[in-house]
Every structure is written in structure tokens, then in C-alpha cells.
Amino acid sequence: MKRIESVNDFVIKFANVNGTGSASANNMFAKALFRMGLPVCPKNIFPSNIQGLPTWYEVRVSEKGYLGRRGGVDIALSVNPQSMAQDIKEVEEGGYFIYDDTKPLDLRLMRNDVNIIGIPLTRICNEEYTDPRQRQLFKNVIYVGALAALLDMDFKVLTDLVKDQFKGKEKLILPNIHALELGHQYVKANLECPIGIRVKTSDQVGDKILLDGNTALGLGAIYGGATVAAWYPITPSTSVVDAYEKYVRRVRIDPGTGEKNYAIVQAEDELSAIGMVIGASWNGARAFTATSGPGISLMSEFLGLAYFAEIPTVLIDVQRAGPSTGMPTRTQQSDVLSAAYASHGDTKQVLLFPATPKECFDFGAMSFDLAERLQTPIIIMTDLDLGMNDNMSEPLEWDDNRAYDRGKVMTAEQLEEGVEFGRYLDVDGDAICYRTYPGAHPKRGAFFTRGTSRDEYAVYTERGEEYEKNMLRLMRKWDTIKEYVPEPEVVTAAEKTDVAVLYYGTSEESSRESLDFLAEEGVHLDAMRVRAFPFNDDVKAFIENHKQVFVIEQNRDAQLRTLLMAEFEFGPDKLKSVLCFDGTPISARNISKQIKQHLNGGEVQPLHRTKIAGQAGE
């Protein structure tokens, strides 16, 4: 039978039952490989449920450093009878299916083109442990030990990891190491090791770190100087504020007085959360909230106020699959349009699209500067994939000489000197006006903030020309904004080409891999990663300079493509969609397949969805 053979390059997928403690064991496995110097890309695929339903954890290992989903499964480790039929089906021909053979495999599931490996996990547990909770927990650790033998991993890396992980809870170290050994010894004694796929210590990790985007954003908020966080729980954004809270407690409590240099308020809903952020920012503090699609919908009215009244606001949107409640624990990039034009009336919101934890941190910190400099909401658009999965990333860095850009705030001294103050006066010609903080000066500088039309001195007016003047200034400000937001990144193909791809956020990693793959087949494509909306002129030029541009994104309706067409008035033929919207991160194979199909297929109907939908799940 065919046997997949490879060193340091494979995809393994764990199938577990939600709530059985498998997450930490699976994580231990990925982290051990990472410590062996191997780039890993772990992804949780979990149900919107606390206990009992199937959950998966997919780890991509790639010595070449590909960090997106590849597609396909080389090894399935299945300890969930409920999903076993599906799990074995997913294994590539010649791949490996590892299961708990305490009970024999249902013969109807048997595949002859897959290497089946049984390990009696339950039996080992039952012989070793009497406590039912221990039996459940250690079963997971035992299969990690078993994998170490099957893949020829450095066992010491695992034991060191356990020691680090349970620092402070020393009682747990020995039992965990013992469980690892149980699995390891059983496999060594009873099975052929290693299998065709194995790992070798490497040096492809350097000083990189493993970090999830939400934690990176929480840290970014701290470094960006956020003192007020208001939020309402929603998956997958909750851990942003959790992380903020965890670290802010360490660094912002006055050791003498116990006083906190921050305030976290769990609001009653998203309406209130964004309201608090707006109130705090209006009053000169840096404030943020984090939410996901349903929250964005609720926050829209307030976002319009912040846009029109020009109040700095930082909002983190960790996107999940919509519409409505959709698939709360699955990933998508489908809030792009509702965020870009959030709220009624002519409104445009600034979006940032980070692609890595490092960028989450950087954009997170930068967003406060941007919000105050530009006096408008800044929405950071990440997604579940980046937010809740550990991602390999450059280490986080901060320039200690950096000071916050507090934007145009007129001080008490300036007001005292009698500098003319009109809240919406465009003094500097960049369409950004000066604001004052409440309480700044006893006699000057007070103004009325309102969502209604007003003149340059913030006085309510319904005169059409005043309204138009203001709306046109906001358009000019949009141009100014283009100069401040992160620029797109371009990767030029090895050979000259007039076809290109454009992607953003978490579509990057798999897109890059698929480009390498296509290049090997002789298909060369230039690439651009858009990092912000408004798009700057480079984005326009890039699209204009190519005959055809594939826009790769993770939603059904090609939302970024729509935005590009709307903002630049490109015709639909120019931009072709490459989409995935089944709730899992887009894979490199899926992208390659769609692009090849488009390129070979002659006439493509960009708005014809059925064809694409059929491909989405591979």
C-alpha cells in the first residue's frame, strides 16, 4: 500500500470531544514541534457548544515555513467515535489513521488505501487510573506520548515543555510526564516506529513566538495607552479584553495605593460598550471595545455618530461566520462591507486588516494614534482564525522613544492666548479640525458635540450649504486618512505577468503558498496585500496595471471586491473572486484550484456563485 513519506512536512488533525481537556494536550503537541524548530500552524475547529460535540485541532507542519492551511489531512488522530466516519474519510490516500482500538474499528469504516494504526488508549487508561476525570484527561496526554514515538520526536522537548507549562503547579508535572511515557512506551513496544512521516529537529523558528491575535491585540491596547475598555462578551472576541485585563493588572496598578490606571466595564450590550468608548474618547482617554459581527450591527448607529461628530473610537472586530448568529465559532471575513459603511447616511469607516499577531499588536497600538490623529473610528478587522489560534509570529517589539500622537487638541494655554477655536474649522487644510477636552478652560473652548448638522463652530444648523461644506470636508479628510493608514504590501512574481492576486488579513498565508505552487507550474502572479481601507492610490494603480486581479477572501459575496469596485469604479470583469466561506480558513490548495480553473476555463462569470460554492469545501 502507498505510504505517505515525508520529513517535517505534513498535516495532522486531531478529532476529540469538546470539553474533555484535549485542547491543552493538542496544544502541547504543536508547541513541542515548534520548540524543535519547526514552523507550525495549529487551528482549532470547534463547535459552538461547551461540552460533548465533536471538536478538531489541525496542525500544519512545514519546514518551508508555510503557515496557512494547506488542505488535506495526512494523519488523523481520532478519539471521537461520533466523528470517526468523517475523520477517516478525510485522510489522504497513503495517509495514517490513528484511533483508540480498545474497541475494534467498525468494518464499514475501513479503508484499504489508508494506514490504520490502533492504540488501546482507553484500556491503558483504565489499567492505570481509577479516577474517571484522570482517565479522561490523561488519555489525551497518552496519545501525545504515542505520537512522539510514531513521529520520532525528541521526547525531552515534551518533558521540558510539561515542566515549563506546570511551573507553579509542580504536583502536576510527574503525572503528566508519566502519561506521556505510557503512550510512548506502548507504541515503541508494539508498533512500527517511526511511520513514513516523521519530524527532525530543525532551525526554522529562530526567535519567533507562538501567539494568538486576540492576546496580541490586548497587548497592543495596553501599549497604545488604552485606559478604558468597555465590552460585551461575544465569541470570538472575548479574549481580547481578557488579555488586556490579564496584562494590565500586572503593569498598571499602583503598588502603593492599589489604584488602577485603567477601567474595564463589562457593558450590558454592544450599544452601551461602544457608547462608553465614545464617551471616554470624547473626554480625552484612549478607549476601545472588541466585538464580532452581531455587535457590529448593534454598534452601527453609534459608529455613525462617531464618524459625523468626529470622535476617536477604537473598535476591534474579530469576525466570525454570519449572517445573523451564523456559525459563531467558525471563521470568515464577512463583516467588511457592514463595517466599511457602518451606519446610515453617507458614512465611511477606517478599517485595518492585520494578518499576523505581530501586526495585531502593531495595529492595535497604532489604532489609538490613528483614531486621535484622524478623529474618527478605527475598526481593526481580524477574524476567529487569527484571533483564537496560536500563530507563529515575529516577536513583539516596542520603540521606547515612541510617544503617543494625541492628535489636534487645543490646550488651555492656546485657548488662553486667544487662538480662534471652532470645533469644525479646517485650520490646517487637511480637513482635520482641533478639538478641546471638556473642562479645559473656564471661558473658552467649550462646544457642543452632536450628531445633528452644525456649522464650523459646532452650532446646530440645518442650512444646506453648511451641511454640504461639512460633508465635503469629511470627504477631504478621507483623502488625508489615506496617507496615515498602513500601506499595502506588494510581492512581485519571478516572471513578468499581467495577472495578479489581491488578498487581506488571514487570507495571506495560504495565498502566498498557493502562489509558490502555481509558480512551480509556470503560472506567475503578482500579489498585493491590502492592509487598510481607505485604499490608497497604490491599490488603484496595482489593479489598473494588471489585466486581471483575483481577489481572495473568505466570504460568499466577495465583499472586498465590492468595496474596490465601489471606491474605484472598476468594472466587474477586472476583478475575479476566489472565495471560501465554509467557516474554515481558506486553504492553499483551494486557492490554487480556483485560480487554475479560472485561468483555464475561458469565460468566467464573476457573479455566478454556484460554481464557486461547489469548490469551497474542496
Partner: protein, 350 residues
Amino acid sequence: MSYQIPKFRHPELPVNDLGYTKADYEGSISTLCAGCGHDSISGAIVKACHELSIPPHMIAKMSGIGCSSKSPTYFLGKSHGFNSVHGRMPSVVTGAAMANRDLIYLGVSGDGDTASIGMGQFAHVARRNLNMVYIVMNNGCYGLTKGQDSATADEGSVSKKGDANVFSAIDLCSTALQMGATFVARSFSGDKDQLVPLIKAAISHRGFALIDVVSPCVTFNNNAGSTKSYEFVREHAEATGTVDFVPMQKEITTDYEPGSSHEVTLHDGSSIHLYKMSENLDPFDRTSALMNMENHRTAGDILTGLIYMDKDSRDLHDVLETSRRPLNTLDTEDLCPGNQMLKNINASLR
């Protein structure tokens, strides 16, 4: 449009301790209907702030949407103002107060703004005991959208259209009490003598202070059969007692009976002096306050005055243990943990 009030003033207008005249606490000329109760409330706010000698710029006046919510334009012209969105003033004030605890937050809202679309935020800001004054200009109807019944319209109360309201009313004072508000009062826009000291006391109270002011809408709800009309309220108001507010500056006096159950010293040293209490009302007992209100309501009366106060109120900043220094005065050097800490974090992530 808002019109500026002419600058000319009589030179001998009385000045307060800061040297400000009452005019320094006024705003633009009101564009509300002539006779609207909301304007009287604005007048009471001006009087209270002037008499308390509050520096006008240290007040932030915040509101939602509605005729009532427009009124901040008509008082305290030297203060920053914020008209937010319909029903969501409380969250904006919460954020603002988190950012700068040194300002006085005066929220103004309508009964539509508070009891319908903003009911959730109202309940939660009360429960969090945010240090603010929350004035509801309660006319039992929607003024700005032309007279629909609001959720505080009494059952059976007749609107201008002539229909009797078929739903039961939300009583904002009871709601606030149940939600944990630490200062609850009710008044009538036409009773300045009662309203002004209540506003002063509310400003000095540390925590959430609700004043529900019945404020007839002359245009849409001042007709016979309305229980929020001038005539009805004048006939049915029953005061808990008269309230005297004594600001901190004048505290050292001898004409108080120390320890008198009707005299309350507030956190800032000011005191409230209550006399002529209505029977059975103990304004420091939440349950008794609730019962009394309910008794008057069933009797068809409106109980006015200070209904409840918690003398030992702990506001949101106390609970969250936020720093004495306003958060909005902190900058890079106070807030940024520096690169070394990131190095440590990086090391923990390998």
C-alpha cells in the same frame, strides 16, 4: 437653529462666590415651544449651578435625543455638551466619567429616551451607581415626534388625539430604586422651590442621582385627561417634605440639631435638610421609599421630593478602584510598559 442670548446684562446682577452672574450659567435661547416644562427645568439647573458656585466648564452636560435632550443647549453655555443618540446617553456618560472623574456629569433625558429605547442603559447606569445627575424631563409623551404615548404615560391617561392609554406605566423612580440607585427624587417643572434644592443635592451626592421631573408638554400633552398636564400635576402632587440644600461652604453653623434624622451630610460636606416629612417616609430606607411611592400611586397622587438617598453610597470609581488621577491625564510615560516587558512576554511564548 439656536439663538444666542444678547450679551447685555444689568451691571448689578448678583454674583456668586466665583464672581459669576446667573447669566454665566445660561445657554442659547430656547427653541422649545413657549411654555414647555423643559424650559423651566433648564431654568432650575441654571439657578442651582449658579447658587452652588460651580465653575461652568467643570460640568459636562449630556443627553440623548428628544425635545428634552435638546435642552442642554439652553443652559450652561460655557460647558461642553454632548447630544448622543436616542436612549444611549447613559453609556456615553459612563465612558466620559471613566475618563475624567473630576467633572460633574449632568445627564438630561426624556421619558421616551429613558423609559423606552434607553430603558436598558438607564437600568444599568443606576445599578452601576455612576456618579452623575440624571434628570428625566417626563411629559408622558414623545414631544419631538409629535405626541405618541410614552412608556411613562399612565394607564387611562388621555392623549391629545383623545385616546386613553391602554398600557400600564413605567415608574422611573421605582425602577431606579429597584436597580440600586442611591439618590431618587421626583419633582415638577412648575415647582422651582422644590426642584432647585433637589438638583443641588443631586449634584453633591456621590453616585447615581435620578430626578424624575414631571414636565408637561404644552403642545401634545397638556389636555384634559392627561395625567402629565400642568393642571393634573398641580392638583395631585404630594410633597415628601421640603428640602433645603446647604452647600459645604456654609456647613459650620449652629442652627442644626446634630444627628437629626432629617439632616444628611453628603460626601463633600454639604448637607440636605429635610423638614415636614410626609407620614411614614423614611428617605434612607429603600423599602419604605418604594412602599410609599406605590401607596401614593394607587391613591392617584404623585409623590414629589427626595424619595430615597443612600448616605454611604460607593460610586463606580470606588468600586473599580480607579486612580484618583483622571485617566485622561495619563500619557505615554504613565501608560506604556516599555520594550523590556515585551521581551519577557516574547520569551514566555516560545
